[in-house]
């Protein structure tokens, strides 16, 4: 069964460093999403992406964040200058319709 994959599973970085989180969505999906989940808290929407552009973004998704679909298969989330409060699980999701979303296993980001 096709699934969303994410790499790395765990990323440790120093505050101020740039990180890129990678996702490979399900191959025939057209809608892509990033979410984050701070430990013990709810899943929070960051951004949705369709037709090679951002369709929606939340207040969390500020200028430090960017997304890209560089090669037609990968979908990346870049955090330019990480802060301690960026430590969280980051989930990528993809969908083939307006609403249905399938989640990847997540990348745990730890900012020291």
């Amino acid at each position: 069964e096709p699934e969303v994959t994410q790499t790395p599973s765990h990323q440790v970085t120093q505050m101020g460093q740039e990180v890129i989180l990678r996702c490979v969505p399900i191959s025939n999906h057209l809608y892509f999403y990033w979410y984050r989940q701070i430990l013990g808290q709810k899943v929070e929407f960051l951004v949705s992406f369709y037709n090679n552009e951002i369709s929606e973004k939340s207040e969390i998704f500020d200028d430090q964040f960017s997304v890209e679909r560089p090669d037609g298969s990968n979908f990346t989330l870049k955090i330019r200058s990480t802060k301690l409060e960026d430590s969280a699980m980051y989930f990528c999701a993809s969908g083939d319709a307006y609403n249905e979303q399938f989640f990847g296993p997540g990348t745990r980001l730890t900012v020291l």
Partner: protein
Amino acid sequence: GESVGLHLPTLSVQEGDNSIINCAYSNSASDYFIWYKQESGKGPQFIIDIRSNMDKRQGQRVTVLLNKTVKHLSLQIAATQPGDSAVYFCAENLDSTLTFGKGTMLLVSP
């Protein structure tokens, strides 16, 4: 039960019992609702969804009920199994953005 934005409650049941997990959503304009299951260390897993023009939808061992009058959503799991132990949360969709609740932890004892 849980409400979007509140602390994480826990529901403990015995294997074979039926479980009911509740969710109060916030926006009466939301048009689509999803229940997800999240096991420790894993991403959310789609369970069942329902659109706002329905009040009930059934899947395999699961039923979702939607009461738009009181903005309430529930997930019923029949014959709960130890493998059902996880955090369950609802999500509401508005303008292509999903808003998640914090979840309810379901603990199933053998």
